[in-house]
C-alpha cells in the first residue's frame, strides 16, 4: 500500500511539476533579428533600433517591424522597448549589431559590454559599422515594405563573404579578443544603403579601422581585399589584371580558388623585417580580348603580371595603413611576439611607431590552375 502511494505521488508530481520557473510561451515572445545602436548627442541618450521578426500576409511569410527606444545606457534603452512592445524581446537569435560612426570610446565599450555580458545574446553576433549618418538608417531605409528581414540579409551576406572578399565579418567575441590584445587593431565591416533596381538594400563593403576605441579610418573595397589577403582569410574573389602579350594589351579577370599567406618576422641587421609569402591558386575566368594567354608563353607572362599586380596591391595597402593610421590591423605584432619574444618586450611600448616604420617584404607566387571551360580565347575573324 505504501509503495503504491509513493509511486502515485511520484507520477502525480511528474505530471504536474514539469514546467520551468520562467516558462515562456513562444507566442508571448518577440524575436529580435538585429539591432542598430545610435547616440543622440543633444539628449545625451542611446537610441536603440531593434528589428523584430513578425508574420505578414496572413502568416505565410516573415517580415519585420522596427522598434525604437531610448535610454541612458544601452541596456536601459533595450528594456525601454518592452514598454512599446508589450512583450519581452528575445535576443538569442539576433544576428547583427550595427553601430553608428560616432559610437566610439566609452560608447563602444558600453555597447560591447552589454552584448558580451547578457546571457541571452550569442557572442558570435556580427559587429558592423554604419556608413550612413545614423545606424538606424540601415534598418529603416532598406526593404521599405518590410517584407524581408534586413538583419538576416546582412547575416547571409557575411556568411558568403568568401566569394566576394570585399568585406570581412567579425563576431563580437573575436572583436573583444582583438581589443584586448596589445598591438592589434581590429577592423569591422561597413554597411551602407544601396539602390538595387529601385529598391533599397543594405550593402556591405570596406572595413572600418579601430585603433584603441576610436574609428580612425576606412579601407575601401579593393584595399579590403588586400587586407583579407594579408591576414590569410581570403577564400575567393576576382582580380582584374592588365597584361601585355605580343604588344597587345588585354584585361584578364582571374578567379581566386585558394590562397595561403604566411607571415614571418626576421631580424636583418638589427632591423625587424616582416616577410609576407603569398601563394595563390588562380584560374582564368574571363579574357577581354583576342590574346592567347593560355598557351605556355602567354601564360608565363600572365603569371608574372598577376604576381606583380598582387604585390603592388598588397604593398599599397600596407603602406597606406602604416603611414596614415599607424595601427597594426594585419596582426604583425602577434608574429613578432611569437618569433622573437625578447625583441617584442623591447618594442612593445612604442609599437605603433615601430609598425609605421616596419620594413615589409612581399613575395607572391601565383599558380594559374586552369582556364575554366575553354582553352583558347574567342577569336574575332574579319
Amino acid at each position: 500500500m505504501r509503495k503504491v502511494f509513493i509511486a502515485f505521488t511520484i507520477i502525480l508530481s511528474i505530471l504536474t511539476l514539469t514546467s520551468c520557473w520562467n516558462y515562456r510561451e513562444i507566442n508571448r515572445m518577440r524575436f529580435v533579428a538585429g539591432v542598430a545602436i545610435d547616440y543622440d548627442e543633444i539628449k545625451d541618450e542611446y537610441v536603440v533600433t531593434s528589428e523584430v521578426v513578425t508574420l505578414i500576409q496572413g502568416g505565410e511569410k516573415f517580415g519585420s517591424t522596427l522598434f525604437q527606444s531610448r535610454g541612458k545606457t544601452v541596456f536601459d534603452a533595450v528594456r525601454d522597448t518592452v514598454m512599446k512592445n508589450a512583450r519581452k524581446l528575445y535576443w538569442g537569435h539576433a544576428k547583427i549589431v550595427i553601430l553608428s560612426k560616432d559610437m566610439t570610446g566609452e560608447r563602444l565599450i558600453t555597447a560591447l559590454d552589454y552584448t558580451g555580458r547578457d546571457a541571452e545574446f550569442r557572442d558570435d553576433i556580427w559587429i558592423l559599422v554604419s556608413g550612413e549618418k545614423a545606424a538606424s538608417e540601415i534598418l529603416e531605409e532598406t526593404f521599405e515594405k518590410r517584407d524581408e528581414i534586413v538583419s538576416f540579409h546582412i547575416d547571409n551576406a557575411i556568411k558568403n563573404e568568401g566569394s566576394i572578399s570585399t568585406y570581412h565579418g567579425i563576431p563580437a567575441w573575436r572583436f573583444i579578443k582583438d581589443m584586448f590584445a596589445k598591438g592589434v587593431s581590429p577592423t569591422i565591416p561597413v554597411v551602407v544603403v544601396a539602390d538595387k533596381h529601385g529598391r533599397k538594400v543594405p550593402k556591405l563593403g570596406g572595413q572600418a579601422i579601430i585603433k584603441g576605441d576610436e574609428i580612425v579610418g576606412y579601407l575601401d573595397e579593393v584595399e579590403t581585399k588586400s587586407y583579407i589577403w594579408i591576414i590569410d582569410k581570403l577564400k575567393g574573389g576576382l582580380i582584374t589584371v592588365e597584361t601585355e602579350v605580343d604588344h597587345k594589351t588585354v584585361e584578364v579577370t582571374m578567379e581566386i580558388f585558394g590562397n595561403k599567406t604566411t607571415l614571418d618576422a626576421k631580424k636583418i641587421k638589427d632591423e625587424i623585417v616582416m616577410k609576407i609569402d603569398i601563394e595563390s591558386d588562380l584560374g582564368i575566368a574571363e579574357i577581354a580580348g583576342d590574346v592567347n594567354v593560355i598557351e605556355k608563353k602567354g601564360r608565363e607572362i600572365l603569371k608574372k603580371d598577376v604576381e606583380k599586380h598582387i604585390k603592388r596591391l598588397i604593398e599599397e595597402v600596407i603602406e597606406r595603413v602604416q603611414k596614415e593610421y599607424e595601427c597594426d590591423i594585419f596582426k604583425f605584432s602577434t608574429e613578432i611576439k611569437k618569433k622573437m619574444p625578447k625583441e617584442w618586450k623591447r618594442i612593445e611600448p612604442n609599437w605603433n611607431q615601430v609598425f609605421s616604420d616596419l620594413e615589409v617584404e612581399v613575395n607572391v607566387t601565383a599558380n594559374i590552375k586552369g582556364s575554366a571551360l575553354t582553352s583558347e580565347p574567342i577569336k574575332v575573324v574579319d
Partner: protein
C-alpha cells in the same frame, strides 16, 4: 558496520568525475595565462607524490577512513579535534561546489529562478545517493564516466577548425612567476580536493586499491582537464579565457560544423552538472561520515538530511555577490586549503608511519 565494497574501476571513475567536477565549468589555473596547460601538467606531476602519500596513509590502515586513522594515531581527543577540521573542510567544499552549481545554472540558463531551487533539487538527489552509500555512487560513476569523459573529447575535436596556435605562443612569455602561481592554483583546485577521498575510501577491496584508484584517476582526469583547458585557451586566447566566468560553456557554443552541428553548450552543461553532482555527493558523504565518527555513531545515514539541508542553507548565504566569491576564491583559498590538502596529510602520514612501526615492534616483542 558496513560491508560496502567498491572495485578499483569504480574508484578510478569516482576520482575522474570528482576531479573534473566543477573544474570543467570554471577556468583552471587562470593565473598562468597562455601557459596554463603547462601549469596544469606541472600540477599533475606534483600531485603524484601527494596522492602516493594519501594512498600510503590509507594502506597503512586498510579498511579504515581518515577519521579512524586519526583516532588511532593521535588518541581520542586530539584525533577527534583533527577530524573536526577535516569534516569542516569537506562540508565547506561541498557548500562551495553546491553554490557554484547554483550560480552556473542561474547565470547560463535560468536567470529568473531563485538560486535555491536548483540547489535544493541537486542536494536532494545527493541525499538519495549518499543514503544509498558509496557503493551506489561507485556504480553511478562507472556508468556516467561513459557519458562524461567523451563529451569534452568530442568538443575538443570539433573545435579544431577554430583553434589558433598564436594564442599559446610564445611559451613562457611572461616569465616563470605566473606559471608557478597557476601551478599552485591548479594543485589546490581541483587536484588537492581529492583529500576528501581519504574520508570516504573505507570500502576499497585491497591494500593496493587506493594507489590504483587515486593515481590512475589523477592521470586520466588531469589529462582530460589539461586537454579541455588547452582547447579553450586555443580558441579564446588568454584574455577572454580569464574574463569568462565559464569558458567551457563559451567554447562549446562556438562549435560549428557546416550548417548542421552547432552550439554544443547544452551538452556541456549536462556533463558539467552530472560531475558536479558527484562532487557534492562525495563531499556530503565525507562530511556526514566525519560527523558520525566524531560523535561515535554507528551509521552516518540518519545524519545525512540535516547535514545536507545545512549545506544548502550555508551555500545560500555564504556569498552575497559574485565579487565576494571571486575575492574569496582567488585570495583566501590558498591559505585555507593548502594546509588541509597538503601539509596536514603529510604530517599525519609521518605520524602514522611512526605509530605503525611502534605497534609492530610491540607486537614483535610480545611474540
Amino acid at each position: 558496520m558496513n560491508k560496502e565494497v567498491i572495485s578499483d574501476v569504480q574508484g578510478i571513475c569516482l576520482v575522474i568525475l570528482f576531479i573534473s567536477g566543477s573544474t570543467l565549468a570554471l577556468p583552471t589555473a587562470p593565473a598562468a595565462g597562455s601557459d596554463l596547460w603547462i601549469a596544469i601538467l606541472l600540477a599533475i606531476i606534483i600531485a603524484i607524490p601527494l596522492y602516493l602519500a594519501y594512498s600510503r596513509l590509507l594502506s597503512l590502515y586498510p579498511g579504515n577512513d581518515l577519521f579512524d586513522i586519526l583516532e588511532k594515531i593521535f588518541g581520542k581527543v586530539f584525533g577527534k579535534l583533527l577530524g573536526l577540521v577535516f569534516t569542516c573542510f569537506a562540508f565547506h567544499l561541498g557548500v562551495m561546489v553546491l553554490r557554484e552549481q547554483g550560480d552556473y545554472l542561474i547565470t547560463l540558463s535560468l536567470p529568473e529562478t531563485p538560486i535555491m531551487i536548483p540547489m535544493l533539487i541537486v542536494i536532494f538527489l545527493c541525499v538519495f545517493a549518499v543514503k544509498e552509500g558509496i557503493e551506489t555512487l561507485g556504480r553511478w560513476a562507472k556508468l556516467f564516466v561513459i557519458f562524461n569523459a567523451p563529451i569534452p573529447t568530442i568538443t575538443i575535436l570539433l573545435l579544431i577548425p577554430q583553434m589558433d596556435f598564436n594564442n599559446i605562443q610564445p611559451i613562457l612569455f611572461d616569465g616563470i612567476r605566473p606559471l608557478m602561481e597557476g601551478t599552485l592554483q591548479a594543485l589546490i583546485f581541483p587536484f588537492g580536493d581529492v583529500v576528501i577521498f581519504l574520508m570516504v575510501f573505507f570500502a576499497l577491496k585491497t591494500k593496493k586499491s587506493s594507489y590504483n584508484a587515486l593515481i590512475k584517476g589523477l592521470l586520466l582526469g588531469g589529462i582530460m582537464i589539461a586537454g579541455v583547458s588547452l582547447a579553450e585557451v586555443l580558441v579564446l586566447g588568454k584574455d577572454l579565457y580569464a574574463m569568462n566566468l565559464y569558458p567551457n560553456h563559451t567554447v562549446a557554443a562556438k562549435v560549428s560544423i557546416g550548417e548542421t552541428l552547432h552550439r554544443l553548450e547544452v551538452i556541456s552543461i549536462i556533463a558539467t552538472l552530472t560531475s558536479i553532482f558527484l562532487k557534492i555527493s562525495i563531499c556530503l558523504l565525507a562530511a556526514c561520515n566525519g560527523v558520525a565518527k566524531i560523535f561515535g555513531f554507528d551509521d552516518y545515514r540518519f545524519i545525512v538530511i540535516p547535514v545536507a539541508l545545512l549545506m544548502c542553507n550555508v551555500s545560500y548565504f555564504i556569498y552575497g555577490t559574485i565579487e565576494e566569491k571571486s575575492i574569496w576564491v582567488n585570495d583566501f583559498t590558498v591559505y585555507y586549503f593548502l594546509p588541509i590538502q597538503i601539509i596536514l596529510p603529510i604530517l599525519i602520514l609521518i605520524a602514522g608511519e611512526i605509530n605503525t612501526r611502534r605497534i609492530n615492534r610491540i607486537d614483535n616483542g610480545k611474540a
